[in-house]
């Protein structure tokens, strides 16, 4: 493990909550409102952390463990991703499987936490969440395969690192397709429009929100922060595909990265303001579409 990598990770952890803020701000501005300040999420987290937890009588330790496990998995997942142009703190052949596995573990924990309440609303949310995730995961792997093809490396550090830069001239078209489908994944995995609407207020139409309906106080804070971190992680993937930072070392690479993250956040905001939310039944089609893009990207390189 390189110390620098850990520092980069720390910075990412600090910056993460700003991303939803940026997205929200963008959306407000584009829709002609002033909207909350960019740093609003930090304030929310502080408020929630001070609150006292309220637990349903039907819940067990599973309910409490969910948010913690989710957050931990995201942090560990971040350990696998190269941030500052150097190899990630943890890297090994096939660690992309571990990355997907971590996301799955976090989801597993959080969904179970939701079901622990025994409320049909959480059940409904959980059901929708896993349905969407089921289609998100293969798409993610298609993107990874395309990257593996481009770089010939089975580790995230490798395929988002030096070899990727080398591959751009050769497989530019394919890689940009991968980037796009990764962006769609980002929207789906983080329950943003057009898959889900974090701003909705009717439980029956929610997905992610309704699943964590019963979590409050510190637990909700963990979930919100985890969500931000997840957004950041996917952002890193998108940015790394579009802007390989192999050439730059340390700070420069980081600067590039966070600039890119900002752009991604803005992009999310833009999408939210220009697109309407899809009907739930059509969400799988959206993801299959993204998968088709990635598949096309793969074929481009095989052919």
């Amino acid at each position: 493990m390189s110390g620098a990598g850990l520092i980069a990770l720390g910075i990412l952890a600090l910056v993460a909550p700003a991303l939803p803020g940026i997205a929200g701000k963008t959306k407000s501005l584009l829709t002609g409102r002033r909207g909350p300040p960019v740093l609003q999420p930090y304030a929310d987290l502080r408020k929630l952390l001070r609150k006292r937890a309220v637990y349903s009588r039907t819940t067990t330790w599973v309910f409490r463990a969910g948010p913690v496990a989710m957050l931990v998995t995201l942090v560990v997942a971040a350990l696998l991703v190269p941030l500052d142009g150097r190899a990630a703190p943890v890297r090994f052949s096939g660690d992309l499987v571990a990355f997907a596995g971590l996301l799955a573990l976090g989801r597993f924990a959080l969904v179970l936490a939701g079901l622990d309440t025994g409320s049909s609303f959480e059940g409904l949310g959980a059901s929708r969440e896993v349905t969407i995730a089921t289609f998100a995961e293969p798409t993610l792997f298609l993107c990874f395969i395309a990257l593996v093809l481009a770089t010939g490396d089975l580790s995230l550090s490798g395929m988002l690192g030096t070899p990727l830069a080398a591959a751009w001239p050769r497989a530019g078209a394919s890689l940009s397709l991968v980037g796009i489908s990764l962006f769609v994944l980002l929207l789906a995995e983080n329950s943003r429009v057009p898959v889900d609407d974090p701003a909705t207020h009717l439980e029956l139409t929610m997905i992610h929100e309704v699943m964590v309906l019963d979590h409050g106080g510190p637990d909700l804070a963990l979930i919100l922060y985890g969500g931000a971190l997840k957004l950041a992680l996917f952002g890193v993937l998108v940015v790394s595909v579009f802007v390989p930072r192999a050439g730059f070392a340390g700070p420069a690479a980081l600067a590039l990265l966070f600039a890119g993250l900002g752009v991604v956040a803005v992009g999310v905001g833009v999408v939210e303001s220009v697109m309407a939310r899809l009907r739930l039944a059509r969400v799988p089609q959206l993801l299959v579409g993204a998968a088709a893009l990635a598949l096309f990207a793969t074929i481009l390189q095989v052919g």
């Binding site: 052949s93 499987v97 049909s120 959980a126 059901s127 896993v130 593996v148 093809l149």
Partner: protein, 654 residues
């Protein structure tokens, strides 16, 4: 080998003791425990030794029958399966003692223990046999013993039906094995594996037939789609510990057969690899989709066996393709992943079946939609079941993740290898889809069984299972965790198996992949530690301020009732909607009720109708015999006339 033989003998002895002393269970079952445990230990030690790199000389018995000597041997391939057989076998046997305890008196419990011992012994012999005859004998012993165990509760018609289907299928499989060996050996009189492996190169046609027959014969046993139809029936009908053993180990003998076939046959042609890969994909996806559609916990778990067999086949297919296209690394990783996943699945699937058994034992129902909130009543069972679920979904840091990781590597390397084998990379996507669906399914199971509130008020408050039933669960769960935590310890032996199947010298197993096991271990351990630390911190901080308690927020409903709880069917509905075409779900809609049930496309759609047709046709043909003596005599006359005509024909052209 002597140790293995000793182990088998002890296990059979244990069964005999339990049966002989059925009148005095206290003595008999203690004796059973001791002997059985000793037998398993005796068998496991050499297996571990071989996996660690030691070699064991074969044992050749002088021929007492036609078709060559009886040979027994223990190589890494046998060893990994022997490990699964004995570890899971012991767990199931011990669990069975407690599980059947309350059946004493009105069922032949002693006989059941004996049969289980025989089954385990037969399984052990299957994996060490190195000649056709002992293999066939052990194979059928395993089939018959497991059949008799399936119909242990034969007073239930459903059980008899399932048993009937099972026994027919397994007998058909045995006949196919006869064919396999007959074709393979040709005119040769020696049917020991050594002789079979030293066959002169087959013609493409004959080799193809051999591989095809092997695929069907062993696919039937393994429950590969479309030969899976018997599996959910039988595994749902059997007592829990038998289902666990069957789903965990017995069906794996099909996998063993396939791998052994590859070892003896040598490099299979590409088409075989592709077929295996395709079958694996179908089994994986359809298995888990069908599982999602089930309401019966045991049927659900049985369908997940189909799914995991699919994952294993993906590994075997990748391996075969690696061999066929000359990519040793892909081959070794694929076979290694298959072997490792076989062992892992044996562990967590038996764990899940035993856990389900405890639930059924405690609540008296197998209907998922009637259960709920059991975690509060049976914490130990719930915790171990949770571990098993996470493992079967392939989540780190558990054993399911490790083996799927190896399979993924094989497939992804296929993608990056270049050439036709690149297509295999897409199987990785299928594997990811399977993983996602499995997660959905087990979230449903765990959530609905153990969390939340009961969907129907249960007759009695369920009580936690007896310690004797919990101990095996804990043991299996521990195994899942340990294997998951230290890939460094399990991957190299798996690679040894892989290189054996791939026909490479064992030294070649020192691949880059081997190196990856180190950092992977770092990762798994780090993950486990950080989970623990985080939980500790959370608990420490949380302990400061006491949380307030209230009812679940029902969006306005003051008090949520059981009827409001989300059912498993509703949970699975959106996904099944997507897979409408293949899920086999039928809906029964009435004025005031809406229910769904799943039918098996192959069994209910194809085989049973065909059988009924055959019966009608036969009863129609039987009319010929009716009518008395003169009809009989005319038939004799007809035979005479026919042979006279043949005589004339032969006379013309002698």
């Amino acid at each position: 080998m002597t140790l293995v033989a000793l182990g088998v003998a002890l296990i059979v002895l244990a069964g005999l003791a339990a049966a002989a002393l059925a009148r005095r269970p206290a003595v008999g079952e203690t004796l059973f425990r001791v002997l059985f445990g000793a037998g398993c230990v005796a068998g496991v030690m050499p297996a571990l030794g071989v996996l660690a790199g030691a070699t064991v000389p074969d044992v050749r018995l002088a021929p007492t029958t036609p078709f060559g000597p009886w040979v027994f041997g223990l190589d890494p391939l046998s060893a990994v399966f022997l490990l699964a057989v004995l570890s899971v076998g012991a767990a199931c046997a011990f669990y069975g003692l407690a599980y059947l305890a309350h059946e004493r008196g009105h069922r032949a419990v002693g006989a059941a223990h004996l049969l289980l011992a025989v089954l385990v012994a037969a399984l052990a012999v299957v994996v060490v046999a190195r000649a056709a005859l002992p293999l066939l004998i052990a194979w059928e012993g395993m089939a018959v013993a497991s059949y008799l165990l399936v119909v242990l509760e034969h007073d239930r018609p459903a059980v008899r039906r399932a048993g009937m289907i099972y026994v027919v299928v397994t007998h058909a499989g045995t006949l196919l094995l006869f064919t396999l060996f007959a074709i393979w050996a040709g005119g040769a009189s020696d049917l020991s594996f050594g002789a079979l492996a030293a066959h002169p190169p087959f013609s493409a046609g004959r080799g193809g037939i051999i591989l095809a027959v092997a695929l069907v014969a062993f696919g039937l046993k393994a429950g590969v789609v479309p030969f899976h139809f018997w599996l959910p029936e039988a595994h749902a009908a059997a007592p829990a510990h038998v289902s666990a053993l069957m789903s965990g180990v017995v069906i794996k003998m099909g996998i063993y057969g396939l791998l052994r076939t590859v070892v003896l046959f040598g490099a299979p042609p590409p088409w075989w690899g592709w077929v295996v890969l395709a079958l694996g994909a179908c089994s994986g996806v359809l298995g888990v989709v069908w599982a999602l559609a089930q309401h019966d916990i045991k049927r659900l778990l049985a369908f997940h066996s189909v799914e995991n067999i699919g994952i294993i086949l993906l590994g075997i297919g990748a391996g075969a393709l690696g061999v066929a296209y000359g990519h040793p690394l892909i081959a070794v990783l694929g076979f290694a992943g298959a072997a490792l996943h076989t062992l892992n699945h044996a562990l967590f699937k038996s764990l899940l079946f035993l856990g389900a058994g405890s639930v059924i034992h405690a609540t008296g129902t197998r209907e998922i939609d009637r259960l709920g909130g059991l975690g509060r009543h049976m914490p130990a069972t719930a915790a171990t079941f949770l571990v098993g679920s996470a493992a079967i979904v392939g989540l780190p840091p558990l054993n399911g993740f490790v083996s799927e990781w190896v399979v993924y590597q094989s497939l992804l390397r296929g993608a990056s290898a270049g050439g036709a084998v690149q297509l295999a990379g897409l199987a990785a996507v299928v594997l990811a889809l399977i993983g996602g669906l499995a997660l959905a399914c087990f979230v449903k199971v765990v959530g609905v069984l153990f969390l939340g509130t009961p969907r129907h008020a249960l007759a009695t408050d369920p009580r936690e299972a007896a310690p004797a039933m919990i101990r095996p669960l804990v043991g299996l769960a521990a195994a899942c965790v340990v294997i998951g935590l230290v890939p460094i310890a399990v991957v190299p032996p798996a690679l040894r198996v892989g290189s054996l199947v791939a026909g490479l010298p064992s030294a070649a197993a020192g691949f880059q992949a081997d190196a990856a096991a180190g950092p992977a271990t770092v990762f798994t351990v780090a993950l486990a530690l950080s989970l623990l630390v985080a939980w500790a911190l959370y608990a420490a901080i949380g302990s400061g301020r006491r949380p307030s308690e209230t009812a679940t927020w029902g969006c306005g409903y003051a008090t949520p009732t059981p009827r409001m709880a989300y059912t498993a069917s509703s949970f699975a509905a959106p996904l099944l909607g997507v897979f409408r075409a293949v899920s086999g779900v039928r809906t029964d809609r009435t004025a005031h009720a809406f229910a769904t049930h799943a039918i098996d496309p192959v069994l209910d759609g194809l085989l049973l109708p065909a059988w009924r047709g055959a019966r009608t046709a036969a009863s129609w043909l039987r009319q010929v015999r009716h009518g008395g003596l003169s009809r009989y005599l005319l038939l004799v006359g007809a035979a005479v006339v026919a042979s006279l005509l043949y005589l004339l024909a032969a006379g013309r052209n002698p």
